[in-house]
Symmetry: C2
Subunit: 260 residues, 2 copies
């Protein structure tokens, strides 16, 4: 199937079941989002967690309890059907990877949409900065760090970071470019020195694929939207539904409208 080009077309193809693949590169120039769905009883803790940890969890939209509509991010979409694949966690355990979540939906669920690194990667590419995982057709390398997030209520867990190796001469420019986009993780949280994050071997990421760090390059670490999944494993809410990695929600938000 030809890749759908507009946010509406991507979401319609997901809904119809004709697009089941990752969303990287689809609907270019529109922001994609991480999804986290929790029972209303956990919504305050999660909202506060996002406020206290805005680098890994930059909030783009929050739904009304029981409503699958993201009024600010894409008012015509249905969050239960319009992503290509989901993950369902019960008590912190992954129990299902369904293509839609109509069967899991309840009147007390609240959906949170968090900014996604695809947006800042596009800005880096447009500035001429190469990203090795894209050159090699891989998922970005991600690591659970030994840095705890600031807890909120029952939610606690480690910061997860993504790593991109960059030539030393491009590090500062990459900080400046991604810093324009605080709504999609913003500037790096850490530059160089993986051991200071508790990462002993960059070649063994906890999520995604390893890439080489070549001589003259520095590993640059950004806060990562996978953090809520690591937090769920630690905090064990009765139900958490997320997107499957790389299978994001495509919003109607022009990426450049998120720049500061």
């Amino acid at each position: 199937m030809q890749a759908p080009a507009s946010p509406e077309a991507v979401r319609a193809a997901c809904r119809a079941g004709t697009w089941k693949a990752p969303t990287a590169g689809l609907a270019p120039s529109y922001a994609q989002a991480n999804l986290a769905v929790l029972p209303q009883d956990w919504a305050y803790d999660f909202l506060l967690f996002c406020q206290r940890n805005s680098k890994p969890c930059p909030l783009l939209d929050v739904t009304e309890p029981g409503s699958p509509l993201a009024v600010a991010a894409a008012p015509a979409a249905d969050l239960r059907t319009d992503l290509p694949r989901y993950r369902v966690y019960r008590d912190g355990e992954l129990v299902d990877e369904p293509a839609d979540i109509r069967g899991y939906w309840r009147d007390d669920l609240v959906a949170f949409l968090l900014g996604c690194s695809f947006t800042f990667e596009g800005a880096l590419l447009r500035a001429g900065i190469r990203l090795r995982h894209l050159d090699e057709g891989k998922n970005v390398a991600m690591y659970r760090t030994n840095v705890p997030c600031r807890p909120a209520g029952r939610l606690h867990g480690p910061l997860v970071v993504s790593m991109r190796p960059l030539p030393a001469a491009e590090v500062a420019r990459a900080v400046q470019i991604t810093g324009r986009f605080p709504a999609v993780h913003g500037a790096p949280v850490h530059v160089g020195e993986p051991a200071a994050l508790g990462i002993s071997d960059l070649q063994k990421p906890d999520y995604g694929d390893a890439v080489e760090v070549r001589p003259g390059e520095v590993p640059v670490f950004w806060a990562c939207g996978v953090t809520p999944q690591a937090v769920a494993v630690c905090s064990r809410p009765p139900l958490l539904i997320t997107h499957a990695p790389g299978h994001m929600f495509v919003t109607d938000i022009p990426e450049e409208s998120l720049a500061c």
Copy 2:
């Protein structure tokens, strides 16, 4: 009394009752904050309101229910005593302006600290931009607009803006400078054309003091931390406690640490 110079000294003087005046100019280079205290039952709505309206309500810290400690903003402070004056609203009506709120404190209260325009005014002054209300020893002019905030649960109400007249040649620079500080209202929400905000007469502000807009000057409007008080009047929560206008909470946060 000589003005206390450090955040700790300001708070100690408020606690002792020896400082009862506005806090403008105290503890220079430390961020001051708007205070909003609500029952836990309303905390989710308020937190969501802040997420949906981050220009008027940029959150710096949120306390645990029943705790008067602002762990991130000033861990040694007591929010019940360390501001010079408070306002107490019951069902949207102002009922008291006490010097401390120990008598109002309850186990279910949650305190929110919001960034304050004093921080970006300092940045403007350091850049050589004059602010007329400061030159004239006045409170800044504030207006209830006809622009609704995005509602959240039971909370709804108008955006309140502050206005500073600037020479046309300084408007763009003021946008750039204040845009570095999203945690304290950030860039203006509106430049020129007060009628488009529903403001018919700049000489009749709803809060604060009028200042002249001279030929060659443009009225520049920033989202204002008084918005939660206007929202309380519309939404009538059973209890809301705020700082009294100008009588802010002085945090331990260096202002420059808030710059992006």
